[in-house]
């Protein structure tokens, strides 16, 4: 079956989710990128009145200090993306390395590492993150990211280990060994490319988790300090003004929701395609 045809025929069905996901994630990504070069106002400029409702001047209204909320939402997109991407990158760097190591290790070490992943997973991501944040001298975006990354790593590790074991049992690995390839080159040329699609799907899910966890951290007051306009912090700051200025709490909530659901939909779509391409012939 030809690839282009399958895309067209699937467009209407399950792949609607893919496109919707792409639309959401794409919009947020573009907004985040745009915020690097342009925002309607300066983040800290107190240009509006106190808690103004959305208007033509201030699309999302203003906060207590009269700062433009739309600007904060844009910067928030940037921060959410940075947090998601870097936390996942850290989680992946640690998780993939240990996961592959475990898959290769002798039975004892493998068991030990596998159990270790399980134990670390027993500390839920957010608790790990809370601890790490508390353990660092100053709460900053960096510590929050590091914390989330460390929190995600055992999950990634466990999945990597399983995927690697699956790939290791394939004949092409034996074939590569018989062809004289060394273990490092097998890892690099055969294992990584083959676990990547599945791992990627999973990492995308972890991305959603990380964004959500950062929001929770910020909500609990353990996240990035001001002036970082993270969506979770915006929510926390707006919580006291839910009655007088509900948009301040609704919009960041919707933004988190849109990003997470966007990533999940995108992931689902990707997974469907991946399954389809693996099923070929």
């Amino acid at each position: 079956m030809s690839a282009s045809k399958s895309i067209l025929t699937r467009f209407s069905g399950t792949n609607a989710t893919f496109w919707l996901g792409l639309l959401l994630v794409g919009t947020i990504t573009l907004t985040g990128l745009l915020s690097l070069v342009w925002t309607p106002y300066d983040l800290s400029d107190m240009v509006a009145g106190r808690l103004e409702a959305p208007s033509w001047q201030h699309w999302a209204g203003s906060d207590r200090l009269g700062r433009d909320l739309f600007t904060q939402l844009m910067i928030g997109a940037q921060i959410a993306l940075i947090v998601g991407c870097s936390a996942v990158a850290i989680g992946a760097a640690i998780g993939v390395t240990t996961g592959i190591l475990a898959a290769f290790a002798t039975r004892f070490l493998d068991d030990a590492l596998a159990a270790f992943f399980d134990i670390l997973i027993a500390f839920p991501t957010l608790l790990t993150a809370m601890l790490v944040v508390a353990a660092s001298d100053e709460a900053s975006l960096g510590t929050a990211i590091l914390a989330l990354g460390i929190g995600l790593s055992p999950i990634v590790g466990r999945i990597t280990r399983l995927l690697t074991k699956q790939v290791l049992s394939q004949d092409y690995i034996t074939a590569a060994r018989v062809s004289g390839s060394s273990w490092p080159s097998i890892v690099f040329w055969h294992i990584l490319p083959n676990i990547l699609p599945f791992l990627g799907v999973n990492l995308a899910l972890q991305f959603g988790l990380a964004v959500m966890a950062e929001a929770s951290l910020s909500y609990l007051g353990l996240g990035a300090p001001p002036p970082n306009a993270s969506w979770g912090r915006m929510l926390q700051e707006a919580q006291g003004t839910v009655y007088t200025a509900p948009w301040g709490a609704i919009l960041p909530g919707l933004a988190i929701f849109a990003l997470v659901i966007g990533v999940n939909l995108l992931t689902d779509g990707l997974r469907d395609r991946l399954d389809a391409s693996r099923r070929q012939v």
Partner: protein, 488 residues
């Protein structure tokens, strides 16, 4: 309860002879849960709110109006040199455990506060007590090293605790109108009237302090009738729900809570009064107050609130004037500005205030780095180690200008003139003399811009309209519950 249905039963119980229900329990919402039950054990302001005057009583009481009156003291005499006080205790006072009040209890209670292991914030004010003697069961004689005009005031927050009581952190044995019924950490603390109370019986059937970790949840509880009173509203946005609503009573009391930016006056560049003045002038405090409190709150230009006898309006000293701020800064040698780290407690309103300051000071090229810390870190890092450049804090206490007379205080303000005035005021012969000296001290610290005093919080109490008789000012975090009346 499927709603205590405050809104419905409100219509004043027509025809009823009594104007309150004697056994109604009053629910009080608070954000300040005590950490333990011992006010000398780092329990926080919450324990004063719940226990002071309710469970424990002092020899004197600081009334909600700000007067110091005898409580457990029947009468007292001061020696001519002002160094010796002889107190006669009231008769018929018993502790909740049934023990009668004796002079030894008083002696021990005072020594508990001044003890080395005590972490009472008032320890220092009592440090010039030379000795306490108990010639008989009803008499206590305190000898001072130096005269202290505010000894009765200072004794108003010394709880008289039964000396037979053992576990003060987790239980109580006081003489107050209420005794502790139960405390569930993280949730609530309940007091019930004490049958053997020596004074007037409370006008309610008990009080329950319900604790919240955030103001929104607290407001919700008041809205849904889960609590009857909120002792101090934390934002004007919440107020809009209650103002002009016949179901609720909003009252404004006299506040003593001051928001301030405290510099570490020991270090460069904050040891230079010019720099401090410049910063003060660069910040539009009116705008800040508007942002945080809308139409509430007041600007006082100094550390002394209008309830203190030594208050004067000092708003004109170092008033908002960015141009002169720049000039002053240049004069002090910082024409290009400088940068400092602002340690900011992590709870409202400090982070928002910090951002406002950051923005204002940026206009005179002063770069502020915001560092969010927890209340606990604030105590260890700033209050104890003095390891900071500048910080934000709210100071709730009544008559606390004395802190500027203590060069070892966390902000390290050291002006010998002020120190002398403040310590001298303690030995003043009369209230007038004391007031005069402290007014002078107040003026000097304002001119010196010892700290940047941002605004005075409003003191707003909101209750459902079926309760009355509660204190409005909440001086020193006290909240006397015995006179609260509730119609059920």
């Amino acid at each position: 309860a499927l709603l205590t249905a405050s809104a419905l039963t409100l219509t004043p119980a027509a025809g009823l002879a009594q104007d309150y229900t004697p056994d109604a329990v009053v629910n009080i919402g608070s954000l300040y849960e005590p950490q333990n039950l011992d006010n000398t054990g780092g329990a926080g302001q919450g324990i004063n709110e719940a226990f002071n005057g309710n469970v424990y009583e002092g020899l004197f009481v600081l009334t909600d109006g700000g007067d110091v009156k005898p409580k457990l003291v029947e009468s007292y005499e001061i020696s001519d040199d002002g160094l010796s006080y002889s107190f006669t205790l009231k008769d018929g006072v018993t502790f909740h455990s049934g023990d009668p009040l004796t002079a030894t209890d008083v002696k021990n209670s005072i020594e508990r506060v001044t003890a080395e292991t005590s972490s009472s914030s008032r320890k220092k004010s009592l440090s010039n007590i030379a000795s306490i003697e108990t010639p008989d069961d009803k008499t206590v004689v305190i000898t001072l090293e130096k005269p202290s005009i505010s000894l009765p005031y200072n004794l108003s927050y010394v709880w008289i605790v039964n000396d037979a009581a053992t576990d003060i952190s987790n239980s109580e044995d006081g003489t107050g109108p209420y005794q502790l019924q139960e405390w569930r950490r993280g949730s609530a603390l309940a007091l019930v009237p004490f049958d053997g109370y020596w004074g007037d019986k409370p006008t309610n059937g008990g009080v329950m302090f319900q604790y919240f970790t955030d103001a929104t949840a607290q407001n919700n509880a008041l809205l849904t009738g889960a609590v009857d009173i909120i002792t101090s509203i934390q934002s004007p946005d919440a107020l809009s729900l209650f103002v002009d609503n016949p179901d609720f009573t909003v009252s404004e009391g006299a506040s003593t809570t001051k928001e301030l930016l405290a510099y570490n006056d020991r270090i460069e560049p904050f040891n230079d009064a010019k720099v401090r003045s410049a910063l003060s002038r660069a910040v539009n405090k009116e705008k800040l107050l508007q942002a945080i409190w809308g139409d509430y709150g007041t600007l006082i230009g100094s550390f002394v609130p209008p309830t203190d006898p030594w208050y004067v309006d000092l708003n004109d000293v170092n008033a908002y004037d960015p141009e002169s701020a720049k000039a002053l800064l240049a004069e002090a040698g910082y024409a290009d500005g400088f940068s400092f780290t602002l340690d900011t407690p992590d709870y409202d309103p400090h982070p928002v205030v910090a951002q406002f300051l950051q923005n204002e000071l940026a206009k005179i090229n002063v770069d502020v780095k915001i560092n969010i810390i927890t209340a606990n870190e604030w105590y260890t890092k700033i209050y104890k180690s003095h390891d900071f450049e500048a910080t934000l804090q709210e100071h709730v206490n009544h008559r606390d200008i004395v802190f500027y007379g203590n060069p070892d205080f966390y902000w390290g303000y050291n002006n010998p003139e002020v120190t002398k005035l403040i310590s001298g005021s303690e030995s003043a012969k009369s209230i007038d003399e004391q007031t005069k000296m402290l007014t002078e001290a107040n003026r000097i610290i304002a001119e010196d811009a010892a700290s940047m005093w941002l605004y005075l919080y409003p003191q707003i109490v909101v209750s459902t309209s079926n309760v009355s008789g509660y204190p409005l000012n909440g001086l020193n975090s006290q909240f006397f519950a015995a006179d609260i009346k509730k119609v059920d």
